[in-house]
Symmetry: C2
Subunit: 418 residues, 2 copies
């Protein structure tokens, strides 16, 4: 007997028959004797409809009202799933954020969970085996009003509930059946990983693998919540689905749990990057702050930053990337502040892709970067910028070469082979 | 400066442009210096959609889950109206039932309001002139879960809030512009009443004038909440709309406020009635209970009851009406219990209409009933049953004569004249 959290996203609960399918997944775990909390998103399309109404009522609207409106989507799904479970003879009830309560900070529209009192949920597990169906994406702020966690927040709700009830596992049911070594639409030889460490998943998630919200992975890492990515679109009673130790999907866990660590575990990529280079920036303390402070204030998300000493030695070249959509805003800002920043020239380029090689094993292995560079060079792919961290190498290339580069890197580290 | 409650139904908040129109009605009152609480229903069609989903998930569903699901409709409208008001520069916030709180009993799906703590709403009136936008139709039950008041409950919410904040008036905005002496679709000469007493309105509402929920009128009567019926579909800034003492519409108030009391104030009717007669029922104590107890248990709503001594004097004839939709159920029940009830024969007829003459003034005037019987006789309309109360006379007739009877009665009491 274990304690499980099951989370289902918007497409998994898109209509009543899908909600009934979700109920069958829950029933399978209940029948196996587990204590189950389910976290649900709004029915697909509902959140967008509600957000659209808020915008129509006023382009700039009170985040507290937005929260009260938008949170209703999850409230409806939670109630409907509870009804569907009861219809199958399962003891279940819905919980809204304010009822548990899930306490958040006061940042309406993008709140962070601060505390969950899961005592009553656990008491009902023990006393009557009741399934808790929790409305995702929301909690209650210090002002006693509903607060939402920001888009995709239901993943975060699920992990936080899992931490609060000390769950053995948090199963994230989604429209893919796990985390792959790279995007299977680009590289058909991509393989589903059985396990991936929190750190690696964090890099995969933030680099463009859209399986899980970055915040939820961070939270899972901090609280060591074993998180499992699996598909909701398979028959709930298909062989192996109820296998507690080895169900189909990908486990995101502490690296200690991964016995045979690969050097490289995955290749991620992120399209629509743009590069800005400031030439011959005066080389003095505070210059980086002078450049990136205003960009941050304007909400421009600066990613890779590369600083080189220029030939003459008295000035520096500063190169960095921003999302292509933010390029024009960034250029306008930088040109306005040119006198203050004291650079010679600004160059920019869009239509770029960042390709990243990820693996905890590279901490103890040398030559990982060199292998990547060689593989790209062999295909005449020009490298525009490089950044590295302990467990990843990111390389900026021309967007036209995205697929070629992903396939080359996937092959060169042996990820094609089972 | 007054304290007002404004209530808007589903069609009045059917989309964002209508919600913005509602905001203009609110703004007019705020600009006039009044303190305003607004009670809103769900957008037209939303409640039916949510109820439909509940039924699809399970034909018999947990009323507590139903409540959590269905109450979300009003939650959304309240938030959207608050945003629309803020957009017009008005200080406003939404309130859900559990936030105020509006405490109800535990009868989920058809709860009754027990207590409203309106202290914070009033404090904000005084301190900052903030408009309270309240989600109608809901409160919080003793189990800390949302409870709804039953269909049409937003009228009841509005009157209860008005009582709790000691409002000077509760304005019910609807798709008609007031209460008429009879249905204008049947009698074009029907006139809008300026005032009607609670008691009369109660008879009008329960007899088929669909302007206001009966429960809300009862509540208004008990707490002496001056309730005003008016249209939301006129230009909020049209002449007279902001006239505090004499706006266009009908005031439902204590009879003391109505100086010139008419003998008869209105003619109501209710179609689709059916009549059941039990012939030669044994005339002994407890016979009525033996007949009507089982009908009540089966949820059959018995209305007019007429008991006559039969010719022989040792038995009685019992005649009563039920809604036509319940007729078959009632007959089945009565036939099954025939031996026990000891009647000779059961006769029934459907397709009937109950026409009612209503007026507080008839308490002190004689001959009101005789006038009605004469008017109907002059048009050869056969009377099938009669019941009377202090302030109304109800007459059961063949449904084919409905329009003729309503017009005849409307004319004979002088209601055609201004």
């Amino acid at each position: 007997m274990a304690r499980l959290v099951l989370k289902f996203g918007g497409t998994s609960v898109g209509d009543i028959s899908r909600i009934q399918n979700v109920a069958r997944h829950v029933k399978r775990e209940v029948d196996a004797g587990h204590h189950v909390a389910v976290v649900v998103s709004a029915m697909a399309g509902k959140t967008n409809e509600l957000v659209g109404w808020c915008r129509e009522a006023s382009p700039i609207h009170d985040a507290r009202e937005y929260d009260a409106i938008v949170a209703s989507g999850e409230q409806v799904t939670a109630g409907l799933l509870a009804i569907a479970l009861q219809e199958m003879g399962i003891n279940a009830r819905s919980w809204q954020g304010w009822q548990i309560p899930i306490r958040t900070d006061g940042a309406h529209g993008a709140a962070r969970i601060q505390e969950i009192d899961a005592g009553e949920i656990v008491r009902r597990f023990e006393a009557e085996g009741q399934v808790a169906v929790v409305a995702g994406f929301q909690g209650i702020a210090p002002d006693n009003r509903i607060a939402t966690l920001g888009r995709g927040g239901s993943d975060t709700s699920a992990v936080a509930i899992a931490a609060a009830i000390s769950a053995d596992r948090c199963d994230i049911y989604t429209d893919v059946d796990g985390v792959y070594t790279t995007d299977p639409r680009i590289e058909p030889k991509a393989r589903r990983m059985a396990k991936i460490s929190f750190e690696e998943m964090l890099e995969m998630a933030s680099l463009g693998a859209k399986v899980l919200q970055v915040r939820s992975v961070e939270l899972a890492m901090v609280h060591k919540v074993r998180t499992f990515v699996r598909s909701s679109f398979v028959d709930p009673d298909a062989p192996g689905m109820g296998d507690f130790d080895n169900p189909p999907g990908t486990l995101i866990c502490d690296e200690d749990e991964i016995v045979e660590q690969q050097v490289v575990t995955g290749i991620a990529y992120s399209r629509d990057e743009a590069q800005i280079s400031l030439r011959r920036v005066e080389d003095r303390p505070g210059v980086a702050a002078a450049i990136f402070g205003p960009l941050a204030d304007a909400g421009v998300n600066v990613d890779m930053i590369v600083q080189n000493i220029s030939e003459q030695g008295d000035a520096t070249d500063m190169t960095f990337t921003v999302p292509a959509g933010d390029l024009q805003k960034a250029i306008t800002l930088l040109e306005k502040a040119k006198a203050e920043m004291r650079y010679d020239a600004l160059q920019s380029e869009s239509g770029l892709t960042k390709v990243s090689v990820i693996g905890i094993g590279m901490r103890s292995h040398t030559g990982v970067a060199a292998t990547a560079f060689k593989a790209l060079a062999a295909r005449s792919i020009n490298i525009k910028a490089i950044t590295t961290s302990e467990i990843k190498i990111s390389i900026l290339i021309d967007g036209d070469y995205t697929e070629l580069a992903v396939r080359a890197l996937h092959g060169v580290y042996g990820l094609d082979k089972a």
